[in-house]
């Protein structure tokens, strides 16, 4: 299946779906040290739901972190 994380394409040949937790490991260097929040296809996914929410073919994941703002 093919998914996007923050606009970057990832191809996973063997899976039909993976959890948000697993998807995050594709993208992060040190996820445990980062402050971030997640949206799947434009809908918020809370941390408590990372293991049970599934990412499927064609899905788009946004991983956001704090920045300065006005």
């Amino acid at each position: 299946m093919n998914i996007h994380i923050n606009g970057k394409a990832y191809s996973l040949s063997h899976e039909v779906h993976i959890s948000v937790s697993s998807a995050l490991t594709l993208h992060f260097i040190e996820p445990q040290q980062s402050t971030f929040a997640v949206a799947l296809n434009g809908d918020f996914v809370g941390k408590a739901d990372y293991d049970t929410t599934l990412v499927k073919n064609g899905d788009s994941l946004d991983v956001l972190l704090p920045i300065q703002g006005g």
Binding site: N6, T35, A37, D62, L64, L65, P66, I67, G69, G70
Partner: protein, 266 residues
Amino acid sequence: MMALNIYGHQLDSRLLIGSALYPSPEVMKQAILASGSQVVTLSLKRQNPAEQSGQQIWRYIQEVVTEVNGHLLPNTAGCKTAKEAVTLAKMSREIFKTNWLKLEVIGDDYNLQPDPIELLNAAEQLIKDGFKVLPYCTDDLVLCQRLYDLGCQVIMPWASPIGTGKGLMNPYNLETIRLRLPDATLILDAGIGKPSDACLAMEMGYDGILLNSAVALADNPILMAKAFSHALEAGEQAYVAGVMQQRQTAHPSTPTLDTPFWHQNS
């Protein structure tokens, strides 16, 4: 100065300040401290594993907010629909552990003017979900009234488009909003360029000012932050003191009784 009321929280400073555009994180921190502000705005962006600067900025913001016993005010910058804003708000709440939200829904890319329809829609959903919404909006009286009626206790009309520094484009509109919404906490947001702009809004009876570029883009942001702090204090004191009525004709300040001799024959 009297306390600023944000959804029941009493704050000593009436200045809310942004964390963007400073020459360095350290200058940002020192400028925020110099401003006396206890509310710092910030945002979210896509995570890039190769880029660690975001985490560094976040640490600086946390440090300064802790030091002033202040509050974070996440924004929804970049959102163009109510749905986007609601999603970003929920992500912000999880990260920043606050239900305060500067709600921005932009309707036009040229002047970053808020979309009033999407803004109302988003505000309604977010209030139902427990957020304390501080909507950034245009200086439209009816829009401000509708936001207040929805439950936005704080309303933040613009002075002029974000980052322009043009000051108060339409003082009449802003004065009318103050007059018609006497119980709302009104914070002028965006477009402030000079301390005198902020002072003018405070003289109108505005409760506070939210700014970023005017301090961050100054030659000396730390000194400018202090200047804004003084301007807000001056403007608030002038409003409380009561500004004199303008008069159409001149009135001598010096008593005219017993005018000196050189006017006797004129």
